[in-house]
Every structure is written in C-alpha cells, then in structure tokens.
Symmetry: C2
Subunit: 466 residues, 2 copies
C-alpha cells in the first residue's frame, strides 16, 4: 500500500515533469529586447489615434461600424500582417436618434440623460420615485410604481480594478425589469460611472421575457444629484423622450490578423480588443486602445529578428457592447480548435498602466507562467496568481476550455469616461499605452515560444437532460 502510493506519486511527478511547460532562454532574451523596443514606440497610440480619428464613434451595426471593419482590415495589411480575414457576426441592430429630458413644474429645467442600449423609444412622464439601490427597487411591491418613473440613485464606488462596476452595471441591466414589475412607466438611473460631469453613461440593458419594455435612461451624475435635492423638497415630475430602438438584424465582422509563427504556425496566441464602441464618444479607452495596443504588440513581434514558434493572432471583435456577439461567434467558429489556442488575453479596460498579471495556467505550466511574470516585472507588473478572469470577448471561448491570461489595467479613472461622450483620445496617456504594448508583446512572445502548452483543452459539454 505504501509502495503503491509511492509509486503513484512518483509516476505523477514524473508525468508532470515530462509535461512541464517551460520557456527557452533565447526567447526570454528576445522578449527583454522586445520590451524595450515597445516602450520606445508610439505605434499603439498611433493606431488608436487612427481608429478614433478616421472612424470615430462606431456603434455595432451602424454605417460607422462598417467603416471600422474596413479600417481594421486595411490597418492589418498596412502593418504587414501575414494573414488578414474577417468572420461574420450577426446580431439585432439598435440605434439612438435623439433623447432629451426635463424636470417639470416650478423647478423646470433640462436633464442630461442618455438612453440605455436596448431601450425602446417613447416618452415617459410622471412622478419619480427614488431608490437607493437595486435591492430597494426589487423590493417595491407590484403595482406600487403604477404611472410613475423609477429612479435608482446608486453611487458607483471608484476602484483600481473596477470592482464598483458589478453593482453599478447590475443596476443598468436588471433595474428596468424590476421597475416594470412594480408598474413603472419609465426607468432612470444615476449613471454607472465615477465622474461628476454632464456626460451620462450609456450601456446595454435587457428586459426579462414577458415584460413590456419601458423607456430607460441614465442621468449624468450632476442631474441625479439635482433630482435627489429636488425630491428633498417634495414630489418631482419628469418627462423624458427617447427616439431609439431595435431595427432588424445587422451583420458585422470579427476582423483578424496574424503574424505567422516559425515552427508551430498552426498554434496561436490570441490577443485583441473589440472594434465596436458606443455611439456617444469615439471609443478611445473602450476599446480603441485595446485594438491599437494589441495590433502594435503583434506588429512589434512580427518585426522581431527571431519570431516565436507559434502564430500571434490579433482579433478585433465585433459588437462586444451589446452582448459579446463577436466573442460568442469566435467561440462557435473555432470550437474545434480550442487546443490550438495556446493562450489568450483581451484588453478591454481602458488604457491605464498594467499592474498585475495572472493566468489560468495549470500546475504543469506554472513554471512558464512564472517566467512570463518575471519578464513583465520590469514594467511594474506584479504576479497575482489565481486573481481575475478572462476578458469579456474571450470569456465564451474560455468557458469551452481556452487557457487565458489577464493583464490587469489600472482602471481608477476608467469609469469617469466609460460609455460617455467623453471617451475620446485625449483621455489616453501615450506612455501608459506604450507600457501596455510592451506587456502584451512580452506576454504574447513568451507564450508563443514556450515548450509545452498552458492547458487549453476542449471541455466535454454534457448535453442537457431530457
């Protein structure tokens, strides 16, 4: 028994040892040179500048989104990517045409608000009822808001890792349905943001099955303050009119470019961001930066004296904003190739400096994971094993078994601008963006150079029981 156990242990250790993923010294040396080259380059900023200037806002399914797809293909080619193609992504099309709101009565004045993505058009007019948070609204009895407008006045806390977006975003996605269940004719929320400007934050919402959607909008923080102050004085009537809504189906594209690997070109390290943006700003931090910095990282790798064994694949995902359509389409299209994806990382949290690295590496790839972390350390990046998860657009594929890495960005000011008109290029610090490019370049180069894998493996999906 003792012998058997020992044998088993030995065998296990031996198997692990034989399978241990390691990164060759030559690759570590090349990555170090790559890191310095990337830090000295403004390519990531220039690509982001090009997208946000030449295309501007690019709501999924819009004419501008189609221009963004053309831009991405052309940019990949201009940068000398070895292979460039696109994969169709189809989704319902939503559009915003106009919106305005106002306080009625003796304190009449306009309100800065914006429709939530997915809201129907229409005019809501009625007394507003304030709730401190989503739980309070969800506790409102059925019928208690009949003829009224629900107003959820939750202040999203500021956090480096964006932790406040959980409750803030939840109020956006689940608030309208809760309001309708209580009988409300309209829904207003304090923007899920951390700023105090007259730029409201949009973002997708949804309505539970069986409910009739009502006009739903986010107020700029100063306007939410104003309503709260007016409510301290008595009842407040508000009217807001949204001209927006769903309009059939649209097809956009995941646009993909590859820098070919040397000895294992069919295996890929996937990096990317999403190409679409909300319509209010030019989508600089969300997510022009993610597209720009990953394109730049791959380009710098492609220009290396010694390319890595595996291919670097950059994906500019379609329509992340309205429901990860691009990420889901990619997962479906490439479902049979999970194992060929060595490791994947998406950048979709602005353009702040990367401060932490972690991955889903299994035990046998921990040594390589540690090697990547050590190569990132000179960039001020800490190794935080076990923390975080995959970026939004790779999460559907990660659920199928894709190995992922997380290069965590400092998002302290991300929700000052996120989904607002103020998401523009001036909010990006070119030096911070270069640090991101360097981190992605080092990460992708090393992952693509490893002897061994990081655990991507198609999960067996159990069919649902009859």
């Amino acid at each position: 028994m003792l012998f058997a156990v020992s044998l088993l242990s030995f065998t296990g250790a031996s198997m692990a040892a034989s399978r241990e993923t390691r990164i060759p010294d030559a690759a570590l040396k090349a990555a170090s040179e790559l890191r310095e080259r990337a830090l000295a380059s403004d390519l990531g900023f220039r690509i982001t500048e090009s997208l946000t200037t030449e295309v501007g806002p690019r709501l999924a399914g819009s004419e501008a989104d189609a221009r963004a797809v053309q831009w991405a293909e052309a940019k990949f080619r201009e940068l000398g990517f070895d292979k460039v193609w696109k994969e169709p992504v189809t989704f319902p099309k939503w559009e915003r045409r106009s919106e305005h709101g106002e306080v009625l009565g003796t304190a009449r004045q306009s309100l800065a608000l914006t429709a939530l993505g997915g809201s129907p058009g229409g005019t809501a007019e009625g007394e507003i009822v304030r709730f401190a948070d989503l739980a309070a609204l969800e506790a409102a009895p059925a019928g208690s808001l009949a003829g009224k407008i629900a107003f959820v006045d939750f202040r999203m806390p500021r956090a480096k890792d964006g932790a406040g977006y959980g409750p803030g975003g939840g109020i956006r996605s689940r608030g309208p349905s809760a309001a309708i269940r209580a009988g409300a004719i309209g829904y207003l929320m304090r923007s899920a943001g951390t700023d105090s400007h007259r730029s409201p934050h949009t973002g997708i919402t949804r309505f539970d099955d069986g409910l009739t959607p009502v006009p739903s909008a986010a107020l700029a923080a100063p306007d939410a303050d104003q309503l709260a102050r007016l409510l301290e004085r008595g009842s407040v009537r508000v009217r807001f009119a949204l001209d927006c809504g769903w309009d059939g189906q649209a097809t956009s594209y995941n646009v993909i470019g590859e820098m070919r690997g040397t000895s294992k070109p069919d295996e890929v390290v996937l990096i990317g961001g999403h190409l679409d943006s909300w319509d209010l700003g030019t989508g600089a931090i969300d997510d022009g930066a993610g597209v720009g910095l990953t394109m730049a990282a791959a380009k710098l790798i492609g220009d290396s004296k010694q390319r890595p064994a595996r291919t670097i694949r950059v994906v500019a995902f379609a329509n992340e904003e309205q429901g990860l359509y691009g990420g889901k389409a990619y997962a479906q299209e490439h479902a049979k190739d999970v194992k060929k994806h060595q490791l994947a990382a998406e950048s979709d949290f602005g353009a702040g400096r990367i401060y932490a690295y972690s991955s889903s590496a299994p035990a046998y790839a921990q040594a390589a994971d540690q090697q990547i972390a050590e190569a990132l350390a000179p960039l001020g990046i800490a190794h935080t094993p076990g923390k975080g998860g995959p970026g939004p657009d790779i999460s559907p594929f990660a659920a199928q078994g894709l190995a992922w890495a997380r290069l965590a960005q400092d998002g302290t000011d991300y929700f000052d601008y996120h989904h607002t008109p103020d998401d523009t290029l001036d909010k990006i610090d070119p030096k911070a963006l270069a640090q991101n490019v360097a981190a992605y370049a080092v990460f992708a180069y090393l992952a693509a150079s490893a002897d061994g894998d990081f655990g991507s493996e198609a999960k067996k999906v159990t069919p649902p029981e009859e």
Copy 2:
C-alpha cells in the same frame, strides 16, 4: 518761493491727516468674531444650492430668469433683509433652441459644439480652414474664406487669475467678424476653456456694424483636437446647424436687498453677483456662488450684535452675460449717488478661495485699506495694492467714480466649467465658499464701519465735442 512751497506741502499733509480714513478698533474686534462665525456657517452654500436647484439654468430674458428674480426677492425676504426691491433692466432677448454639428465625408461623425450667444440661427456647410489664433484669422485676405468655415484653434492657458481669458474671450468676441470680413459662411472656435471634456463653452459674441452675421459656435476641446487631426490628413468638410437667435426685447430686474446701517444708513457698501446664467448649466460657479456668498455675508452682518454705521446693499445683477446690462442699468439709475457708495465689490469668478485683496482706495484711505487687509489675512488672503480692477457688473459705475475693492478668487479650474453644461453645484467646495463668505463679511463690515470714505466721487464727464 521756498516758503510758499513748504506751506503748500504742510497744508496738503495737514489736509490729508485730517481726512484720513480709519476703522475703529471696536469694528475690527467685531469683524474678527464675524469672520469665525462665517467660516462655521454653510449659509452661502445653502443659498447657492437653493438658486441652482430650484431655478436651475436662467438665461437672461427667459422664463427661468423671471423665476430667478422671484427667487431672489423671496430669498432676501426669507433672510430678513430690511429692504428688498427690484429695478428694471431691458435688453435684447436671445435664445438657443437646438444645435448640432458633424464632420462630413469618410470620417463622418458628430461634433460637440454650442452656439455663441448672439449667433444667428442657420446651417453652415463647407470646408474648414484652421487658424492658430485670432491674429492669423484677422490677417486672412478679404474673400479668401469665401464659401468656407473659419476655425480658430487657440488653446487658452490655465491661470490662477484667469489671465488666459483675455485672448480666449477675444477670439469669441472678435473672431466671427474677422471671419465674415474674409468671406466665411460660418465660424467655429475651440472653446475658451481649459478642460478636455465634451462640454463646449458658450458665451456672448458680437458682430461689427455693417456685417451680415453668420452661424458661430464653439467646439468642445476634444472636438477641436479631432478637427485638427483630421486636417493633418487633408481637407475637412463640416456642417453645423444652429436654431437660435434674437427675439425682441425682454425686461428683467436687478434685485436688491439691504441690511440697514446704524448711524449712516443712507451710505452703502455694495456687494453682489449676477443673477442670470447661461442656459447650458445651472450657473453654480457663474454666478450662483457670487449671489449666494454675498447674500450670506450681508445676512451674517445683519445678525451681528453691533451692526456697522453704513448699510450693506446686496445687488443680484440682471443679464451680466450678454453685456453687463444690469451693471449699466444700476450705474445709470444711481448716477447721482456715486458718493453715497462707500465701497463696492462684486463676486463673479467662481467659488474658489480668495487669495488676494486690493482696492481703489486713494492715499488718504490707505490706512483703512491696510486695516481691512490685516483683518482678511487670517483667511489666507494677501494684500496686493494696485492689482486688479472692479468686477464686471460694477465696472460701469466704477467708470463714473465708484470706489471698488477686489477679492481675488483662485480661478485655476474656473475655465474648466465656465459657460458649459458642467457649471453645476458639485463643482463648488462648501469650505472654500465659506471662506469667501467670511472674506466678504469682514470686508463689508469694516468698509461700512470706517470713519471716512474710500474715494467714491462722481467724475465730471466732459461732453463730447461737437
């Protein structure tokens, strides 16, 4: 000759000594107590909160402006002012209804812009021609901008004392006429502001006699950046449509409240701000704060155990924004009473801490001026004799001989919000506002308690030659 000169000198010195203005010790002691009481009070903030919340934006001549007049009368009475009245002010009425702009062509996207006050409505569509500053535009030959839109892309520098507003504001007031002279069909300028948000800065402009006005608007800073970047790539066509314009005459009111003095109630120390605001924000820093803090200062003086000899008069001036109409009307209405105005100070530069004090005091009032400065010093206020000038609304009266004082506010961030939708209550630090109230209370109390005057004297106006 020598004797005669000496006698003259002696007589002059003797006259000055006999006329020297001084502030009694009892008043200095009372002012010190008043200062501490004001610092501990939130009254200035509460009044400002009331105006900006209950009335909100209040463009001169609008329905909201009329509500602001009612509010001011009611607030003076609520605070227990001894005398409250209003004086009519008539001016041309301008209003903004809607506005939008867009880049045309392959980079088509919307532009955040706002009509300049006084602009005519209309649509301008054409190629834009960029000028680095006003001088460059003024140098454009007649006809050189035929069919085109002038774009002045000057970055206003940030300064504690607002010095950058000279060139920035000049581009707003003189740019449109220069553009028209060169043949332009429209005028765009980078906002006269120091922020980088999508909130453009409005403000009054004018058109020289004999010119046909063209649609004139200010771009938000990120949109000016965007046009500049697009112009680096080639020609850029823009279309912008303004629905705004002049519509007859309107009458509003200077609203005035007094806290009566004890022994010389007919002489007044005048403090105040302007009641109107631009229509985009709620006019918190421009100039709800000025109204709120001067009302509060007078109220605190009125509540003193020992009121000063002279009356404290608070004036909430009408329509400062479109041409100092309230200030001019006041100067005209009170032209015969210059001498009864002991000293005047207007607050119209936001809500930042006061850092410097100066006045127009003549030599014989320098001692009293110094006494005021010493009483302000514990508030962190430096004495800066000879610096600055009167606030905008008292400047017409100052030109007629009114003695003025300047309580200079830190305006480092004033032009981040000035004339934008972002001029809202959240931009005011209540503690900084309390420091302002304390400074105005101390200043007004001491000026009203002085033995002697500060030099107000009607100037002889020479009639223009035939």
